[in-house]
């Protein structure tokens, strides 16, 4: 690492500071390198420690100033009036530290981060997995019941298409046969025969219509079924893709 790279890293590590503070700090270390001389560059870098460490020292001092800022300064006059003027009495130094200190984000120790990660993994295993399993089970169940309903509807439709014409034809035939025994009262016999023939005709018409309908809709139905299978396949491929990407990201972390 050269002095130039070192100063750049330091500048980045001090990003949270207000501009003038950061410029002052960078300038100090810039001059430090210049005064140490290029022949000492490597030694100075190794003795300074990492840019992050140096930045941490500066930020620590910064938060300390922020903490003592509300106290009355040494130049404060009255006990009551001293407090609000403390910042000015200090030459604005601690007041500035206090105001700008808000920019410094709270630092978490590595131990706490580690504990948080462990806790998250534990929660994920204890609550997340069952939840995930339940969600998957729910989706599968819903899909299955939807399929069953669809199949049932199709079956009822098919039954209606087949049964209705058959019933009509059968009842028409029965009426015709019955009319044979009613010639004692010709009017009712004719009426019954007419009704039976009507039913027969209606049944035949429906049967023809059904056969025609089946013939016409066979190809589109096949095509629709194929489309459904296709979509399911795509959905599964998508799921596998998502899981794969998730696993890769986990590996990356």
């Amino acid at each position: 690492m050269t002095a130039y790279e070192y100063l750049n890293a330091l500048r980045q590590a001090l990003e949270v500071l207000p501009d003038d503070e950061r410029v002052n700090a960078i300038r100090y270390y810039e001059e430090y390198f210049l005064d140490a001389g290029p022949e000492n560059e490597v030694r100075v870098i190794s003795e300074l420690g990492s840019p992050e460490q140096v930045a941490q020292n500066i930020l620590n001092e910064y938060t300390d100033l922020a903490r003592i800022a509300p106290r009355p300064g040494p130049g404060g006059e009255g006990a009551e009036e001293g407090a609000p003027q403390a910042g000015q009495a200090d030459g604005g130094a601690s007041a500035r530290g206090f105001r700008t200190g808000a920019f410094v984000p709270p630092r978490r120790s590595p131990a706490i981060s580690f504990l948080a990660v462990c806790g998250a993994i534990f929660l994920a295993v204890v609550f997340g997995l069952p939840l995930l399993a339940a969600a998957v089970a729910t989706i599968v169940c819903l899909a299955a019941s939807a399929l069953v309903v669809l199949v049932g509807l199709a079956a009822v439709l098919a039954a209606l298409l087949v049964l209705l014409p058959l019933t009509l034809i059968a009842s028409g035939g029965v009426l015709c046969v019955i009319s044979l025994f009613l010639w004692g009262v010709p009017a009712s016999a004719v009426l019954t025969l007419g009704a039976g023939l009507c039913l027969l005709a209606l049944g035949g018409l429906l049967a023809v219509g059904c056969i025609q309908l089946c013939a016409v809709s066979f190809r589109p139905l096949l095509r629709a079924a194929g489309w459904c299978v296709d979509q399911c396949g795509r959905f599964f491929r998508w799921c596998i893709d998502v899981v794969g990407r998730f696993l890769e990201r986990l590996k990356g972390v």
Partner: protein, 108 residues
């Protein structure tokens, strides 16, 4: 070293070093490092703190084709240094009394 360096002691030494002559960051660090075991990165926060509380001030001066920032002590800094000196003498004497190897009753 077994004895930790307190922030006050560091402030006092830096004030003493700067009070001898106007000087700059690198030289202050080297001077302090001759008497105290501190890392090179310790000094900037100290100088910044002393600047903020008005004990030190800076001025820029051209030197060898560039600008160097010099630190000098202010009257307030001198007062603070006097107070530190008095505290140090009292502290040193009282510690010396028990730790110096002489009998406690010898020096009253």
């Amino acid at each position: 070293m077994a004895f930790p360096i307190s922030a006050a002691l560091l402030d006092a030494v830096v004030l003493a070093v700067v009070s001898r002559e106007s000087t700059y960051g690198y030289k202050i660090t080297q001077d302090v490092r001759q008497v105290m075991d501190i890392s090179e990165s310790t000094l900037y926060p100290v100088l910044r703190r002393l600047l903020k509380d008005g004990s030190l001030s800076t001025y820029d001066q051209a030197i060898a084709g560039r600008i160097r920032r010099y630190y000098q002590i202010t009257p307030a800094g001198l007062q603070k240094l006097q107070a530190y000196r008095a505290d140090w003498v009292a502290y040193r004497d009282s510690i010396e009394r028990v730790l110096g190897g002489r009998d406690v009753n010898d020096c009253v």
